[in-house]
Symmetry: C2
Subunit: 601 residues, 2 copies
């Protein structure tokens, strides 16, 4: 299929469209229409269930605007840049590394330095895609991707729209550890908006300036905690390791179960665990597993803090796009905030049994140091303490030498009060390591739509179909009267209300012939349609809504139930419908297990 078909369908059917079209639109900003917002909600709920509830992790909700100090510590202020080249003629801004990728065989140009990119621009005679001007010789500059704003009036402080939801978790670690009663491991999730001021947004929902992230930060003791691999041990992963990417022209995958990937040392055990969870989740929301892989970061691509990182990638029109990153972030983020802030980002880990350890201490004779060093006495004492911790042997001689402000001082060892004591330690401060599955919600939604899109022929007629999974489809069932007359409309509207009350997303439609209504729901991605027809009317005779006793009396009539994908129909009693549909949604029964197809209408 062509991507533009989907984008057109998405706009027409209420999935998504570029925002503020009345004012010409703004690149990189999209609005989800009624179908799209509900699909996105369903995808988010599925994520909460799989990564939160089932894993026992808890969710928080932090602001999207954060103070500058956070991003000084996280490194975003210095390094969250893309390479920008501006056209000297038309003034258009371009992402320089993308120009290289689009015009040469080079992939992952992001890992080159700006000067190298500038050289490549010249070498390949790259022109402005907007006006055709040669860009050789134009400077390639780093452009920080954070949206900046001012907080408060007057001498305002600088704030940034968060470039990832993760920092909202890291920066609150001291508080969150308290909720976890300082017990590792624990995990915190967050779903929310994040922002990147992209130089040139593109590919619809893939590269936008405002997007939704679903992130989990799992804090673990790197020395003791291990993932419960057995929970996902048999999940098969399509892996594209760094060495395979380097060594061959052909794309060659390695297929391993989570257990095998860990045992062979292919993937870090914590990362492998979440690749298993991730694969299960993407499959459950309807991403095509034949168009899905995990690609390991190349060494040049790997963030400086990441020990191992694999991206989930989805295929669209022959290209592969990042859907998620599964990174072992070590203690990078917590140690940065520990360093930059006044708070403590460690937890106290109690030993199973207390340990007795030797500790070297000093207790300097200040009546000697005072007269000897005056105002410098305290500094000398502090240096003695450090020396005792560092080098006990230094105290074996008669005198000890310490250096204060570049000046050396000799102190008689007997005046230092040096001693080695045995102390009982009940535990230690540990800085947790972090495993981070970071998922782009918009890209998940977009990939689900692309993979669900198809065109086929039904009874000689072309149809467009979104084969959305019943678990996430925004409209689950369409309810139609064959025609809105003789009471069929009334029965169908009543049925719609009843299904809604049962928590099923039902829509009523009586406009146009029945074939056209099926086509419409096929295109919206509605998995099932129910039609009330003359047979229903006959069955229900004498018990029309207004005449029936109220309450849960059986209605007794039958309707046709039609499946989107097979276009087959079966006749089912209306009283069974809510339970039947709920089972179909949960995957507890399949359409083909139902009765034989009903007669053609």
């Amino acid at each position: 299929m062509s991507r533009s078909n989907l984008v057109e369908l998405a706009k027409r059917r209420g999935y998504f469209f570029q925002s503020a079209g009345a004012y010409g639109g703004v690149s990189g900003f999209y609005t989800y229409g009624p179908q799209g917002a509900t699909l996105k909600d369903n995808v988010e709920d599925a994520w909460r269930e799989r990564f939160g509830v089932q894993e026992g992790h808890r969710e928080i909700d932090a602001p999207t605007v954060m103070p500058e100090a956070v991003f000084e510590a996280s490194g975003h202020l210095d390094t969250f840049d893309d390479m920008l080249v501006a056209c000297p003629e038309c003034g258009a801004s371009h992402r320089a590394d993308h120009l290289i990728e689009d015009n040469t065989d080079i992939e992952e140009a992001e890992s080159f330095a700006p000067e190298e990119i500038a050289d490549l621009v010249a070498e390949h005679d790259i022109q402005c895609p907007n006006c055709g001007t040669e860009l050789a010789g134009e400077p390639v500059e780093e452009f920080n991707l954070m949206f900046e704003t001012n907080i408060g009036p007057g001498d305002a402080s600088t704030g940034y729209l968060r470039p990832e939801t993760a920092q909202g978790i890291f920066v609150e670690f001291p508080q969150l550890a308290e909720y976890a009663r300082n017990q590792l491991p624990f995990g915190i999730t967050q779903i929310g908006k994040a922002y990147r001021n992209e130089i040139s947004p593109r590919n619809s929902l893939v590269r936008t300036r405002e997007f939704t992230q679903a992130e989990l930060e799992h804090f673990v003791d790197p020395n003791e905690d291990e993932p419960l691999i057995e929970r996902v041990a048999d999940v098969e992963l399509t892996l594209y390791p760094a060495e395979k990417q380097a060594e061959s022209e052909e794309t060659e995958y390695v297929t391993r179960t989570v257990r095998e990937a860990v045992d062979e040392g292919l993937v870090h055990e914590w990362v492998a665990y979440y690749l298993g969870v991730g694969k299960q989740w993407y499959e459950s929301i309807g991403v095509d597993m034949d168009r899905f892989r995990f690609r390991q970061h190349l060494s040049g691509e790997l963030a400086h803090y990441a020990a191992d990182c694999w991206d989930a990638e989805g295929e669209i029109d022959g290209d592969w796009y990042e859907l998620a990153g599964f990174a072992y972030r070590s203690d990078y983020d917590l140690s940065k905030h520990d360093e930059y802030s006044d708070d403590d980002f460690t937890v106290f880990k109690q030993y199973d049994e207390s340990k007795v350890v030797e500790r070297a201490t000093v207790d300097p004779d200040m009546s000697y140091l005072g007269p000897e060093f005056g105002g410098g006495a305290a500094d000398v004492a502090a240096e003695l303490e450090l020396l005792a911790e560092r080098d006990r042997a230094a105290f074996e001689d008669e005198a000890v030498t310490v250096s204060v402000d570049g000046e050396e001082h000799e102190i008689p060892t007997e005046k230092t009060g040096f001693a080695v004591e045995e102390v009982k330690e009940t535990g230690e401060q540990i800085m947790p390591h972090v495993i981070e599955p970071s998922i782009g919600v918009d890209r998940a939604v977009y990939t689900v739509l692309v993979h669900a899109y198809s065109e086929d022929e039904v009874e000689g007629e072309q149809r467009t179909r979104l084969a959305l999974d019943p678990g996430v489809a925004p409209t689950f069932v369409g309810v139609f009267p064959l025609m809105d007359k003789d009471g069929m409309g009334e029965l169908a509207r009543e049925l719609t209300d009843e299904l809604r009350a049962e928590g099923l997303a039902a829509t009523y439609d009586d406009s146009g012939n029945i074939g056209r209504r099926y086509r419409r729901q096929d295109e919206v991605g509605t998995p099932f349609c129910v039609t009330v027809d003359y047979d229903s009317l006959e069955d229900s005779e004498g018990q029309r809504a207004s005449e029936r006793p109220s309450g849960d009396e059986p209605r007794g009539y039958t309707v046709t139930l039609r499946e989107r994908d097979s276009t087959e129909q079966v006749r089912v009693p209306v009283d069974d419908l809510p339970d039947l549909l709920a089972d179909l949604r949960e995957g507890e029964t399949t359409f083909s297990e139902l009765d034989a197809p009903a007669a053609e209408q």
Copy 2:
């Protein structure tokens, strides 16, 4: 209770706390901890159900960053200001109208002009709350409350963080009307972040710089559509009309049902309908109806576009706070966007029967006008057309006079081709009116917490209790073993997993004595606790988890179920527990309807 008690509890128990505390915090930004984020989720879901699903409205999801053009049209760029006065000594910024309210008997100082406020500051010798410097003579200035940022690099365009979610709906009206097949009425909802760069954030979650709004824009035909008042006709409203606010020192309310309020003309019918819905919703999430009212906007307070507006208000520590606005916004927003953009913000409304109307037209003889007026002929023809629409009588004489660029021209009537025709009109373009219930989610959450907070005494011991409604409580049931030994811990952990699988938010706790665990859950607001004790063990003998056949075999043992508010306990069979708890959550049964209290433990 004192507000600070709640704020302290909120931080300690994971409801909310000021963000980025490790860096000294930033005024007006809060993070919801694990309990708070889940409570907020539950409140949002309840809103979606009541204002969306039950009313048949659909949800969208628009960006939080929007282009400047939108806010030029909406008026926010010009008028979304607060009054700022800065201290000449310490430089602190203050909201000038709040200084007046805090230091005088004047209420709603917001409705005064900046110069009047400056006069009042001088008149009342108001000092800087920060350093005590006299502020008399300092300028009072308008400060725009939108956060500004740049979109894209280079010659960037200006964007703003949306000050309300509403504009994301209004600006997409043309597209949304298409989804509704141009049929009025229809409603669009949105839940999301909105931002106001408050001069002085205060009162915890009440006045923050980043917050969550839940808004509904209900688009109606002002001439034809009417609310289904009967759906909420009997809901009783505590009303505080504008005239009552003006006329007396005493606060005097008027209690009316929705039906009465409409019949008496007290409240606009569409607004009254949503006051009914709103009251039901606030009551359902646990806002105390004795501390809740609807206050009509005073005329000076009313936005220029609003025909009628009532705020929902909640009482905290004797003060009343706005929780929501219910406004009849007329066609103000759509007409502004219609005017400022190139799109059409009307819908075509088909008449039930086509109408035949007379229309006056001209068909000027250009072979006369051309030679006579040269290049001005087209302008003259256009003026003739306007004149025919405006004033048919002008064509009754032999000659017609039109004015082009200040010059008068006389044209023989016979050369104008004037005629009156009958035309059939099948419908007309209508600009819908809008009713907007706009709800602050954070204030709802905060009020629910404040109204749920109490301190009482249980068996001579002080306890703090959050009496959260079972429908929204983030933790629904605590599961404890009496002690973690003799297999009680195992049974309790198993039970926790089982309850979670049934969709009940369960937490396991075995630390400290049972009384302490009850106190902890009382403070978190957990409505029910279940304890597995020695009696349970005896009942379950011979059928411990590991020995039992797998599947849904009955377990047969009993546990105690304890209610937070009454502190009473009953003994119930563990196999009944999931259904029983689900019924308690949905309000389908009450605790007091269960068996007689169990023996004291």
